[in-house]
């Protein structure tokens, strides 16, 4: 989207796995949006890739993906994600493996040199698992977490930190059910800084689709984080709850179970740490449809608050 009063020239570079990049140049009109269908680029057929976007005006780019097709469902699932600047450190609060979810870390390196990366998994029992990786120059790396060497990651709930010696892009996708074919997925970019105040704009509990919302908190620090969550409701006063997130731990707040007052409502939330320990926060949301448990689901990285 180009919110500017002037058209913007945009160059898109597709970083493929194990192959040379593909580049396209397009124009986005003033005060307008442009949809790019990647399948229209023949070189990208049956490819996994990252995308680098450069523009002559300040623009915002998002990417959505849809997949799966049945006689009654055009796309059984899909996800979308905004972008941000490259960084040397990325943090993801959410992540799960096992019999239901497949989780992938997706690292894009637009640099001219290889990125030497260290991936740190923070399990919900406080265990820490560190694995080194290399992302090729102007390439992308897909990490299937369940296939990491450490068997503790076969069936785990975790947060992740990615550190790199050069700035890279990083996202995390989750697909389900793990017994393929996948029906649905969500994807989020990581955050590049820890913070003590976070916000999420959406949350749903109950209703016709039996929405279920989770707040995922990751604490990579060496001391526990004392957390208060203020649930912002459409109607009614905020609800405040307190939690302690142990050191080096991923922590899950089951909002439906923990905040009964939010049943059958929409809400947002702000998450504040009271003892100065920086953390990462995401929110995931799942619902049932057509008699299928968790037919749909989304995830969003929380927004940092001042």
């Amino acid at each position: 989207v180009n919110a500017n009063p002037e058209p913007a020239s945009v160059t898109m570079t597709f970083l493929r796995e194990g192959q040379t990049p593909i580049e396209r140049t397009l124009t986005v009109g003033a005060h307008s949006r442009l949809t790019v269908y990647a399948a229209d680029v023949p070189e990208l057929a049956n490819q996994s890739f990252a995308i680098q976007v450069e523009a002559t005006q300040a623009v915002v780019a998002e990417r959505s993906m849809y997949f799966g097709s049945t006689p009654t469902q055009a796309w059984t699932g899909g996800h979308a994600s905004g972008g941000s600047s490259l960084a040397r450190q990325w943090s993801f609060a959410e992540g799960a493996t096992g019999s239901f979810f497949d989780t992938f870390l997706l690292l894009g390196n637009p640099q001219a040199s290889d990125a030497r990366v260290e991936v740190t998994y923070l399990l919900d029992n406080g265990d820490v698992i560190v694995t080194p990786k290399v992302v090729p120059a102007q390439g992308r790396l897909t990490i299937d977490v369940a296939r990491e060497t450490d068997t503790r990651l076969r069936n785990a709930a975790f947060s992740t930190q990615v550190t790199s010696d050069v700035p890279i892009a990083a996202e995390r996708s989750m697909y389900w059910p793990a017994t393929q074919p996948w029906r649905e997925a969500h994807n989020s970019a990581g955050v590049t800084e820890l913070a003590t105040s976070w916000g999420v704009a959406e949350g749903r509990a109950g209703g016709d689709h039996n929405f279920h919302t989770y707040l995922l908190l990751g604490n990579p620090q060496s001391m526990a984080a004392n957390v208060t969550v203020t649930y912002l409701r459409s109607n009614g006063d905020p609800i405040v709850k307190s939690y302690v997130v142990p050191a080096t731990t991923r922590y899950t707040i089951d909002v439906n179970g923990d905040v009964q007052e939010l049943a059958d409502s929409l809400f947002g939330a702000r998450i504040d740490v009271t003892n100065g320990v920086g953390i990462m926060v995401e929110r995931s949301m799942y619902w049932d449809a057509n008699g299928i448990f968790w037919s749909g689901g989304t995830n969003a990285t929380a927004a940092r608050l001042p």
Binding site: A3, R33, A50, V59, G82, S85, T230, W287
Partner: protein
């Protein structure tokens, strides 16, 4: 071969005992009964035959006294020669025991009262003995007992005993009652204490004194307060080392606590007698409250009305309390007659006592019968006490009895002869009867000395003797019968005769012609006989289940022999006291009189019972309230040691049976005297740790203080600790057990408000092997503790430090608490000469002169202390006496009192004394300003006084007798003095909590000092522990501030280090969402949360692909959530559009977008958060967006 000659009987005495054991009395080499003596015997027999039926029921000693008072020459005694000792009451009435029937007892009480008598007690003899209610004198007499005259035919009738005071002239009338069985003198028992001899008084006191010096903290050194208990090596599985520190309880402690290793047993096994009830029978509990006030005893339950008289019971209780301080103690007197004695034994058991002990026995107690049936009509009640012992042991109690101090053959102190009657021939004068031959033709047994009863017993059942024996005591030249006992035995009486003791006399046994030969027991008890055998222990001490205890000295023996080992433990080298009674005991009859060997009542009949059973300590320290000071000798002292050890054994193994306790004591005893079980020591000396181990106990390591040193650090450098100074305490620990202790730590604390122990207060001593010592001086050991004494601490303060030691060993005990008494203050030593005092201003000034009078001395030699000050006692001499007076300034006027210990010593100070006064000394009036004095004559005199801030303190040294002291050298020492009156001020540590941010290293430095200060303005050394930098998180930090005198103060605070510096994001006003679609497939929501504390107007601008825009404005409440269904916004019903969101005022929002499909079913969806600012182009190829996707499962 008979030695009797016609007209004269020669009685020669054999001399076979060592001269040291005897009084200086020349024994005649020849003893002849001339015609006059034989006539006296004949006369006694005529008198005996002439007794009326009532007189036959009166003891012959009482009959003799009647005759004397009635002016008749008593048959069988020469006028004025007898020494009958009969107890009387204040009204001159005799104390008698009246044996009667239980049925007739009530009426008899009334009759006694009517006859002017007074019933002191009335007790049935039944197994469940009970007291009999008296009938008031005015009440009608009960019907006469049908059992009366025909009592003997009614063997089933139960007996009872009345102790009464009755006029002698009423006895015949009372005896005439058919319900009266017999009237005997009311005797009291003997307790088994031996008064201190001259030899033992000196040596034992010396030993105790030396111990006292080492057992307390050593304060009198010039450089430091130290405690260095003697380190003693000895053998045994759990006895590798020993320290007398902390033995016993209260002001005086039996040395037996150390020699029996009871102290060590308490530590090894964590026992102190808790849960065990011990009953004591002795004379009385005089001084009980005084003993309790000094901590030498805790609570004692005295059975109502049975407190007795005398204080030996108090001494026994103190010994038990020293060894088993957790035991619950009971007392009842053994006095008041055998019936009362037996009743009290039963009552103690009824009160719940698990262990019962006594140290008293009655002369009339049977030597040959195992008790006494309730239906036995005896004339002496000789089996009542044994029967009571049988009763309580059968019900589960353990009974200990002192073996007695009546001597033994082995040490030449024997006082008993036992053997078969040997016919020494008939009276040539024709009196029907025969003399007993003691062997070799000796018809008399010489009594070296005796001030007690002399008794004759023979092998007949109680209440069933038909063999009439008499006992005569002749003077040395056989010209007079000094005393005789001629009771009639015609089938229903006891086999018992008794006369008053006399020295330098001969005992002659006379048997009637009709009497059968029997096995005899002739005893001088605590006296000495010339012809002796073993077998002295008798009565209830020899009861089947009783444990008779012999005595062995802890230090100097009372008379002669091997000194005891104190402060070391007993070994096989120790021996019994020379006076302790020996065994064994030959027993002929069961409790009901049934013979063990029917038809055989000689030295080949009966059963032989080993006794004594074990041996324990005597010659020990007690408070002395019960009697004069000096070691407590006798088997009386031994029995409480054994009983207390039994209590420790019982506690160590709950549920243990009395038989198992007895077996453990015996099996673990140290074998002394003859190898194996012997007649003098039994199995040997009982030892507490070994006994508990034999009972199955598992020992733990015993960590004890080996030594300690306290000194100023640095203070003023004089070695003395005073207020305002820093100090160091070094403690060496040792392991007294034979097993290794690991992980040994010690934590020092004190409740003194004047002392602060510097943190950290825990020290690690690592592993301490058995017998090893780990020092506390820092090198290869633990580091000393630092402490600071408050500026206002009293000068004579003694700090009670508590050392809590934790450790691991193979036993169950993992910790113990040790108290260390550390006195502070300076010491002033004055070496003076009376009449020429020395001054040393400003510390003190001196004068000399003449005072009027001598302060009265102190009994008990118990000098006053600050805790027990002495009121001015007056003067016991008005003589003019030389004195030296020393005046000591007293610092300031602290609100707390100050105690000053004072010692006067020197080889020639015996006739000199010290006294203290405040604020001045007036030689013309010793009462004026009197504080206290030594009050005794000794080469070392100690006392302490409290000035109560009424200084200055004046201490005088003066001669106790006029003109004997001038020119005499003396040493005067005052400890706990203030030293300089200007004291150092202790600094104050002030800390504050700090919160700091970690730096790049992840750590941060911080100071918690918040203005610590020193009242003197001294420069302070300030340290923090840990010193920092501190890691992320919260660290508790100890702040220590120290001034140049080592005075230290501490405070704590928390340092909080925050992990990462977080830069808050700049406020964002605009949010963008690239994706967005509505229509028939997608349903789109824009979701906005307002975290701000105010409502906001938000504007949404939608950018469609055709370049047109749609604007929507909404209001969102404070701290709330808003959902905008984009499909419902006019102009956006079916389109693709991006959206820009902004809040009025630029307030931050939280913005997301969700899309669901397909319309109406919403089986899938996705969400994205808004981008807070548009990506801007860079000057070079700058990346603004990167994303990746996985397109397939490949």
């Amino acid at each position: 071969m008979q030695k009797m000659r016609v007209g004269a009987i020669a009685l020669a005495a054999a001399v076979s005992v060592a001269a040291w054991a005897r009084p200086v009395v020349a024994q005649p080499s020849r003893f002849t009964l001339g015609p006059a003596a034989l006539e006296l015997i004949a006369a006694s027999q005529r008198e005996k035959a002439a007794r009326t039926p009532a007189e036959r029921k009166i003891d012959s000693q009482l009959l003799q006294e009647m005759a004397r008072r009635e002016g008749r020459t008593s048959a069988g005694r020469l006028a004025g020669a007898d020494e009958i000792t009969l107890a009387q009451d204040a009204a001159g009435r005799l104390i008698v025991d009246i044996m009667t029937t239980e049925a007739g007892a009530a009426a008899l009480q009334a009759d006694v009262a009517r006859r002017g008598g007074e019933v002191l007690s009335a007790i049935a003899s039944a197994a469940s003995a009970s007291r009999i209610s008296p009938v008031s004198p005015g009440s009608p007499a009960s019907p006469r007992s049908p059992a009366s005259a025909g009592a003997r035919a009614s063997a089933a009738a139960r007996s009872a005993t009345l102790r009464a005071s009755v006029s002698l002239d009423r006895l015949r009338d009372i005896a005439a009652r058919p319900d009266v069985i017999f009237i005997a003198p009311g005797r009291e028992p003997k307790t088994h204490r031996r008064a201190t001899s001259a030899i033992s008084a000196t040596s034992a006191t010396s030993a105790a004194s030396a111990t006292s010096n080492t057992a307390t903290t050593g304060s009198a050194t010039a450089t430091a307060a130290t405690g260095a208990p003697a380190r003693l090596a000895h053998g045994g599985p759990t006895t590798d080392a020993f320290s007398p520190i902390n033995t016993g309880q209260g002001s005086k402690t039996t040395e037996g606590d150390a020699t029996h290793l009871a102290y060590l047993a308490r530590l090894l096994y964590g026992v102190d007698g808790t849960g065990i009830k011990i009953g004591v029978l002795s004379d009385g509990v005089n001084g009980l409250s005084s003993s309790q006030s000094r901590g030498d005893l805790g609570p004692v339950t005295v059975l109502p009305g049975q407190g007795g008289h005398g204080g030996e019971g108090t001494a026994l209780l103190e010994i038990i309390h020293d060894l088993a301080p957790g035991a619950q103690l009971y007392f009842a007197t053994a006095f008041g007659g055998t019936a009362q004695y037996g009743q009290n034994i039963r009552d103690l058991r009824a009160a719940g006592c698990d262990i019962i002990i006594d140290d008293a026995s009655y002369f009339e107690e049977s030597a040959f019968q195992d008790g006494q049936s309730a239906h036995a009509w005896t004339t002496s009640n000789g089996g009542l006490v044994t029967q009571a012992v049988n009763h309580v042991t059968a019900s589960g109690a353990i009974y200990f009895s002192s073996a007695g101090n009546d001597g033994n053959v082995a040490y030449g102190t024997g006082a008993v002869w036992e053997g078969d009657f040997l016919d020494g021939g008939a009276d040539p004068g024709g009196t029907p009867g025969h003399f007993h031959d003691f062997g070799g033709g000796w018809l008399g047994n010489y009594v070296w000395d005796s001030d007690e009863r002399l008794t004759l017993k023979w092998a007949d059942p109680l209440g069933g003797s038909a063999n009439d024996y008499d006992l005569f005591l002749f003077n040395a030249d056989a010209t007079a019968i000094l005393s005789s006992s001629t009771n009639i035995q015609d089938g229903t009486q006891d086999p018992y005769e008794s006369v008053s003791g006399r020295s330098d006399a001969y005992l002659v046994i006379w048997k009637s012609n009709d009497a059968a030969p029997r096995f005899l027991n002739l005893s001088a008890h605590r006296g000495r006989l010339n012809i002796v055998t073993n077998g002295q222990i008798h009565g209830h001490a020899a009861a089947a289940q009783a444990i008779a205890v012999a005595a062995t000295p802890v230090a100097a023996p009372r008379d002669t022999g091997t000194p005891g080992p104190y402060p070391n433990p007993f070994t096989t080298a120790n021996t019994v006291e020379s006076f302790t009674s020996d065994g064994p005991r030959r027993m002929f009859f069961q409790a009901d009189g049934t013979p063990y060997t029917p038809g055989n009542f000689s030295s080949t009949g009966g059963i032989v019972r080993q006794t004594p059973v074990i041996t324990a300590a005597d010659g020990v320290s007690v408070t002395g309230f019960s009697f004069i000071t000096g070691p407590f000798y006798g088997t009386s002292a031994a029995v409480p040691h054994a009983a207390a050890i039994a209590a420790l054994v019982m506690q160590s193994r709950p549920g243990i049976t009395p038989a198992e306790v007895r077996a453990a004591l015996i099996a673990s005893a140290i074998d002394i005297e003859a190898p194996g079980v012997d007649v003098n020591s039994g199995a040997g000396i009982v030892m507490a740790p070994a006994a508990i181990a034999a009972a199955g106990g598992v020992p733990s390591a015993v960590i004890e203080v080996d030594s300690f040193t306290a000194t100023d650090n640095p203070g003023d450098g004089d070695g003395f600790i005073v207020g305002g100074e820093g100090a160091a305490l070094a403690v060496a620990l040792t392991n007294l057990a034979s097993i290794t202790a690991t992980n040994v730590t010690a934590t020092l604390s004190t409740s003194s408000p004047y002392v602060k122990v510097m943190e950290p207060a825990m020290r690690s001593y690592g592993t301490i092997a058995a017998g090893a010592v780990v020092n506390g001086s820092g090198a290869n050991g633990a580091t000393p503790w630092a402490f600071t004494v408050a500026s206002d601490a009293p000068c004579g303060l003694t700090i009670d430090f508590v050392l809590t030691v934790s450790f691991t060993s193979s036993g169950p005990i993992t910790s113990r608490v040790i108290h260390l008494a550390v006195p502070i203050g300076t010491t002033i030593d004055i070496n003076g000469t009376l009449g020429s005092p020395v001054s040393s201003a400003p510390s003190f000034t001196a004068t000399t002169g003449i005072q009027t009078g001598r302060i009265a001395g102190i009994s008990f030699g118990d000098s006053p202390t600050c805790a027990r000050p002495r009121s001015y006692p007056g003067i016991d001499s008005t003589a003019s006496l030389h004195f030296d007076a020393y005046t000591f300034p007293v610092c300031g006027a602290p609100a707390v009192s100050s105690c000053t210990p004072i010692t006067l010593d020197g080889v020639n100070v015996v006739p000199m004394r010290a006294a203290a006064f405040a604020p001045a000394f007036n030689p013309a009036s010793l009462e004026e300003n009197y504080l206290g004095d030594s009050g005794t004559s000794a080469i070392r005199q100690n006392f302490s006084v409290d000035t109560h801030s009424n200084g200055p303190l004046v201490v005088t040294v003066y001669e106790a007798v006029a003109n004997v002291g001038v020119g005499t050298s003396y040493h005067l020492r005052l400890t706990g003095m203030c030293g300089s009156c200007v004291r150092n001020g202790v600094p104050t540590a002030t800390a504050r909590n700090m919160t700091v941010q970690a730096d790049a290293s992840g750590m941060a430095a911080a100071s918690i000092d918040n203005g610590s200060s020193d009242p003197d303005g001294d420069p302070l050394t300030i340290t923090q522990s840990p010193a920092g930098p501190y890691p992320v998180g919260v660290t508790t930090v100890l702040l220590t501030v120290t001034d140049p005198k080592g005075a230290t103060s501490q405070a704590t605070a928390a340092v909080t280090v925050l992990p990462i510096v977080i830069t808050p994001p700049a406020p964002t006003a605009i949010y963008l969402l690239g994706e967005g679609a509505t229509g028939g497939f997608f349903d789109e929501d824009v979701l906005i949360a307002n975290p701000n504390p105010l409502a906001l107007v938000v504007t949404l601008t939608f950018f469609k692909e055709d370049g047109t825009t749609v604007t929507e404005t909404r209001t969102i409440d404070r701290e709330s959530h808003l959902r905008i269904a984009v499909d419902d916004v006019q102009g956006l019903e079916a389109t693709a559009a991006s959206v820009q969101v902004s809040a009025a005022g630029g307030y931050p929002l939280i913005v997301e977008r969700s899309m669901f499909w397909d319309e109406g079913r919403h089986y899938a969806g996705h969400t994205a958060p808004a981008v807070s600012a548009p990506a801007m182009p860079g000057s070079s190829r700058k990346v603004r967006k990167a994303s990746s996707i996985r397109m397939s499962s490949s």
